[in-house]
C-alpha cells in the first residue's frame, strides 16, 4: 500500500508547487478581470479624469505611458544594439570586454529605484531638464539598456559565422557584413527582446516617481519638457494616495486591467514574432 502511495505523494508535491505558481497567475488575472472589466468602457479609455479623479477616464495616463515607452525605446535601442554589436562582433576576450560584460550584468541587477535617483540627480537636477517626460524617458532608457544588450547579443550570437565569412569573401567590409547580412538575420530575435524589455519598462513606476510623472495634468500630454501621467503611477496614486481610495477602487481596478492589457499585448507580440521566426527555420 505505502509502496503505491509514496510515488503519488512525491509526484503530488511537485505538482502542487507548480499548480500554486499557475494559481498565482490565474488568481491575479481572475481578480483583475472580474472586478476591472465593469469599469472598462470606451469612455474610460478615451476621456480625462474628472471631479478630483473620482470619475472619468484615464486617457492622459494611456498616452503618457505610450509616449514614455516610445522614448525609452528610442533611447535604449540604438545604444543597446550598438553595444551588443561591439561585444559580439568586434570585442576580443580582453580584460576590457570582461569589465564591460560585468558592468552590464550589474546594471541589470541595480534596483529600479536607484535608477530613479540617478535620473533625478543627473537629468532632472544636473542637466536642468526638470521633472519631464524626457527626463523620465532617459531614466527608463538607461534601465532598459542592459536587457536590450543582453537579448540583442543573444540574437547576434545565433547568426552563423559562415554568413559573416560569405559577406567578407565578396569584399564587404566588416561594417557592411554586419549591416547587410548579420543584422537582417538577427532582427526577429532582437525585436522579441526589445518588445519584452519595453513591456517591462511600460509597467515600471519607481524610476519615474521623481523624474517626471504627475498626479494629474489637465493639458493633453505630449510635450517632452513637461510632466506627464502614466498608467502604473496612476494606479499607485488611486490605490494609496487618493483622498477617497475606497470610492475610486473601481477606477483603480480599471486602470490595473488596462495596464495589464498593455503589457500582455506587448508580450504576446513578442511571442508571436518568436513563433513566426521559429516556423521559418
Amino acid at each position: 500500500m505505502t509502496k503505491k502511495l509514496t510515488p503519488l505523494i512525491e509526484w503530488g508535491t511537485l505538482l502542487l508547487t507548480t499548480g500554486l505558481v499557475c494559481f498565482f497567475l490565474l488568481a491575479i488575472l481572475w481578480d483583475l478581470i472580474s472586478k476591472g472589466s465593469s469599469s472598462l468602457s470606451w469612455a474610460f479609455i478615451s476621456t480625462s479624469p474628472t471631479d478630483g479623479m473620482t470619475k472619468g477616464g484615464i486617457l492622459p495616463a494611456i498616452i503618457g505611458t505610450v509616449l514614455l515607452t516610445l522614448i525609452t525605446a528610442l533611447i535604449a535601442a540604438p545604444f543597446g544594439i550598438c553595444c551588443a554589436i561591439y561585444l559580439n562582433e568586434y570585442a576580443a576576450d580582453s580584460w576590457l570586454t570582461r569589465i564591460i560584460r560585468a558592468s552590464i550584468r550589474n546594471l541589470a541587477g541595480v534596483p529600479s529605484i536607484i535608477y530613479g535617483l540617478f535620473g533625478l540627480a543627473l537629468f532632472v537636477q544636473g542637466l536642468q531638464m526638470g521633472t519631464s517626460l524626457f527626463a523620465a524617458g532617459l531614466t527608463l532608457g538607461l534601465l532598459s539598456m542592459p536587457y536590450i544588450i543582453i537579448t540583442t547579443e543573444e540574437a547576434l550570437r545565433r547568426v552563423p559565422n559562415s554568413m559573416r565569412e560569405a559577406a567578407l569573401a565578396v569584399g564587404a567590409t566588416q561594417f557592411e557584413s554586419i549591416r547587410d547580412v548579420v543584422l537582417p538575420s538577427a532582427v526577429p530575435g532582437m525585436l522579441t527582446g526589445l518588445v519584452l524589455t519595453l513591456s517591462r519598462a511600460a509597467g515600471e513606476t519607481a524610476p519615474i516617481l521623481f523624474t517626471g510623472v504627475a498626479f494629474y495634468i489637465n493639458k493633453p500630454a505630449g510635450y517632452l519638457n513637461q510632466e506627464f501621467m502614466a498608467l502604473p503611477y496612476h494606479l499607485y496614486m488611486l490605490s494609496t494616495q487618493h483622498q477617497a481610495t475606497e470610492q475610486v477602487r473601481p477606477l483603480a481596478y480599471g486602470t490595473a486591467l488596462v495596464l495589464i492589457i498593455v503589457v500582455f499585448f506587448l508580450n504576446l507580440s513578442a511571442f508571436y514574432i518568436r513563433y513566426q521566426h521559429s516556423k521559418h527555420e
Binding site: 560569405a166 569573401a169 565578396v170 566588416q174 557592411e176 547580412v181 537582417p184
Partner: protein, 253 residues
C-alpha cells in the same frame, strides 16, 4: 612571361592560434591559370593556410601571422592593399555552402552592389556568372527564389557564381565538395576545370581521387609544414617522401 608565372605565394609563413603554432614556416607558390590542390590529414593546417590568403583570420583575435604573402608583387598584409581589396581580388568558396538568406539574384547582386559595379551592368554579369557556374539552366526561371531552397550542390554552385561574378584573380576553395553527393561533386569538378582558363585556383581537398582528377600541382602538408610539392602525377605516382607515400596510399589520415 613564362609558363609558370606565379600568381600567389607565401614565404616563411607562420601562424599561431594563441600559443599553438599551426603553420611552421611554409613556402608555397601558386602558378597562374593552374589548379593547385592542398592535401594532408585533418589538422595539418591546409585550410588555415588557405584562409591566410584572403585574410579570413583577421576577425579572430588570438591569431598571429608572420611571413610574406604576395599577390603578384603586392603584399597582402600591411601593404597598400586593404583586407577588403584583398578579398575582392581573391575569392573564396567555403566547405559548407553559405548562400545569404536572400534570393538567388540578390546573392550575386550583393557583391556587385557593395563593390560599386554600375547598376545597368549587373543583370548581365549575374546571368553570365550563373552560366559560368553551370547553374543558369536550373534557376533562370526563378531568380527571386530564396537561395536557401536550392539543393546542396546547387547552393555550392551558386556560391561559386557569387565568387566568379566579381572577376577575382584567384579563387580559394576549402573542400567545396565535402558535403555533396557524387553527382553534384562531379558537376562542380567539371566547373572547376573550366574555370581554370580564367582564374588561378587553389583547392583544399580530402579526396585523393579529386586531387588527381583536377589538380595540375599538388602540395602535401603535414603538421603545419609542407612535406612535398610538385606536379600531381609525380606526387601520386612517385612520391619522394615516405610520409607522402603513406598518405597518398591511404595509410593514414
Amino acid at each position: 612571361m613564362s609558363k609558370t608565372h606565379i600568381k600567389l605565394s607565401a614565404t616563411a609563413a607562420k601562424l599561431w592560434f594563441g600559443n599553438k603554432q599551426v603553420l611552421k614556416s611554409v613556402n608555397v607558390a601558386f602558378p597562374q591559370n593552374k589548379i593547385t590542390a592542398l592535401i594532408g590529414p585533418s589538422g595539418c593546417g591546409k585550410s588555415t593556410l588557405l584562409r591566410c590568403f584572403n585574410r579570413m583570420h583577421d576577425l579572430s583575435a588570438d591569431v598571429m601571422i608572420e611571413g610574406d604573402f604576395l599577390l603578384e608583387d603586392q603584399t597582402l598584409y600591411n601593404g597598400k592593399l586593404s583586407a577588403t581589396e584583398v578579398r575582392r581580388r581573391i575569392g573564396m568558396v567555403f566547405q559548407q555552402a553559405n548562400p545569404f538568406p536572400k534570393s538567388i539574384y540578390d546573392n550575386i547582386n550583393y557583391g556587385l552592389q557593395i563593390n560599386n559595379i554600375p547598376k545597368d551592368q549587373r543583370p548581365g554579369i549575374i546571368e553570365n556568372a550563373l552560366k559560368e557556374s553551370y547553374i543558369w539552366d536550373e534557376v533562370k526561371d526563378d531568380l527571386q527564389k530564396p537561395a536557401t531552397r536550392l539543393s546542396g550542390g546547387q547552393q555550392q554552385r551558386l556560391c561559386i557564381a557569387r565568387a566568379v561574378a566579381l572577376r577575382p584573380e584567384v579563387i580559394l576553395m576549402d573542400e567545396p565538395c565535402s558535403a555533396l553527393d557524387p553527382i553534384s561533386t562531379a558537376k562542380i569538378e567539371e566547373l572547376i576545370l573550366r574555370l581554370k582558363k580564367d582564374y588561378t585556383i587553389v583547392i583544399v581537398t580530402h579526396n585523393m581521387q579529386q586531387a588527381q582528377r583536377i589538380a595540375d600541382q599538388t602540395i602535401f602538408m603535414y603538421l603545419g609544414e609542407i612535406i612535398e610539392s610538385g606536379n600531381t602525377k609525380q606526387i601520386f605516382k612517385k612520391p619522394v617522401n615516405e610520409l607522402t607515400k603513406n598518405y597518398v596510399k591511404g595509410h593514414f589520415g
